[in-house]
Symmetry: C2
Subunit: 325 residues, 2 copies
Amino acid sequence: MQIQRRTAFAAGLAAVALPILGKGASAQTAAAAPAMPGSPGFYKFKVGSFTVTTVHDGSRAVPLTGFVRNAPIEDVQRVLAESFLPTDQLRIPFTVTVVEAGANLIVFDSGNGAQPGPSPVGLFMANFRAAGYDPARVTHVIVSHFHADHINGLIDAGGARTFPNAAIMVPETEWAWWMDEGNSGRTPENQRGNFANSARRFAPWRADVQRFADGAAILPGIRAHAAYGHTPGHTTFHIADGGDQMMLLVDVTNRPELLARRPDFHIVFDTDPVVAEASRRRAFDRVASDRIRVTGYHFPFPAQGYVAKEGNGYRFIPGDWSAGI
Amino acid sequence: MQIQRRTAFAAGLAAVALPILGKGASAQTAAAAPAMPGSPGFYKFKVGSFTVTTVHDGSRAVPLTGFVRNAPIEDVQRVLAESFLPTDQLRIPFTVTVVEAGANLIVFDSGNGAQPGPSPVGLFMANFRAAGYDPARVTHVIVSHFHADHINGLIDAGGARTFPNAAIMVPETEWAWWMDEGNSGRTPENQRGNFANSARRFAPWRADVQRFADGAAILPGIRAHAAYGHTPGHTTFHIADGGDQMMLLVDVTNRPELLARRPDFHIVFDTDPVVAEASRRRAFDRVASDRIRVTGYHFPFPAQGYVAKEGNGYRFIPGDWSAGI
């Protein structure tokens, strides 16, 4: 079926036709019909003169049991059900934000990267090309933090740089942590694989890595804002042009249907959940108070919208969709 | 710029690149850059073995003044602002629902149709083809009501049937009303153009029109449910297969950010706003109570999701997005 569906590539819609978790039965049914494209995974909007494109990398289901560490699973399920999401597992989407800012074409994080076989993730590069972009044109890759789903796409299946002509920029705090295996003992056990993985993914970039501090103006219109806790150096980004602005919230929240509604939930992927919660509340407060448009790496595609204060938590409100840019 | 952007057609992304209202300035800026595709306007999901595709036809801005007839504009603006929508105008999106049900390929309503020049609407046919569909393959066109944005796409620029091999099915109450100009005096003045327009759009179909009653099983898995008031015969549709179900709410609500939050708002496009409100509340109550997935013609793309009871009104909650079908 994989090969048959690949004929959709000819229509320029690429890997968006790959089957996604929980849809196996449907995909089997469809196999008898002519190959049909899946839903295209890119969305474009403007921030001032900048063009922002959210590029979908797929979704992956993780067990719900144990995902939130400080609440009974029934509480978690109730919150998911309020947003009409499945309650037997957590489907986590991945969406990379791309910004064209003047002559710069900037990719924030790199997705899950090329997969060895059929996979519900690793769709970034096909969707990026479908959006009209050439990886060779990328001028900068800016990395938020070194979890695998954010850095695995830095290299291709052969180990070469995915964006051959790009500079790479990383938070200095994040770099210092994961490039020193001496921090292993102070790192939660389920995160220790990040040391070796970071070394591997940055290998071909290593000599050229540029490190930036919290608050740094990284590039014209782009500023780093520390939001530590998810990882030791996890960083968000503020984008501004011509009086317009947005925030890349990255992983201050996993699915907002869960962690915006309940910012007090501590999730299994946080290196320091208490610090992560404080960072999450600070980021939500800012974007809610100032009504700043946001994107989020694990937001439902197209992963752009707004955050409103509501009750003891927040609510993610998708931005209005428009075909034009 | 129009011509330059049309080069995006070559990439199979067609008219989705047309500039949309309120984006003129951005589009001008982009004109100097290489042609880029806009955001693709189709989304696919399954209902049992059926494949449902929402196909975007564009959006159009209408004046906010006078849109809601029984509330001060400040109330309307406050509701829009809660959803981070513009408050100086109302942007109304148009999205056609397409259902592949066994051997049947069914299009519900037809969009705004071919436009004489650059337009923010009329994107349906390009997006329908991008979704992998051929209009000649359509077996049935089912019409919900005879407002221009739902029937103008029934014929092409030359006046011929847009779906040459399709049967056409309409609510008998709707047909009886608009095919008899004798009803003109009992029709709000701003709706009277629908008599002549309906005659024109149905002209090449007229001999073959099949009329259905409220509650009729129109096709396997597809049933009509009257929701009068928006027009005299406005009809919603229930789709069911293999224990799965959905409702096409069509125009029981214009933008749900407005009329789900405030079902008591009476809008300028309703022929009988009091009856429309009762139909709206009945439809919302059903889909909220039974947690039935819905699509809506004026919902934010991809125009599929759920309705939850909240306070004195309801809230539209977009369905989770997935690249696979």
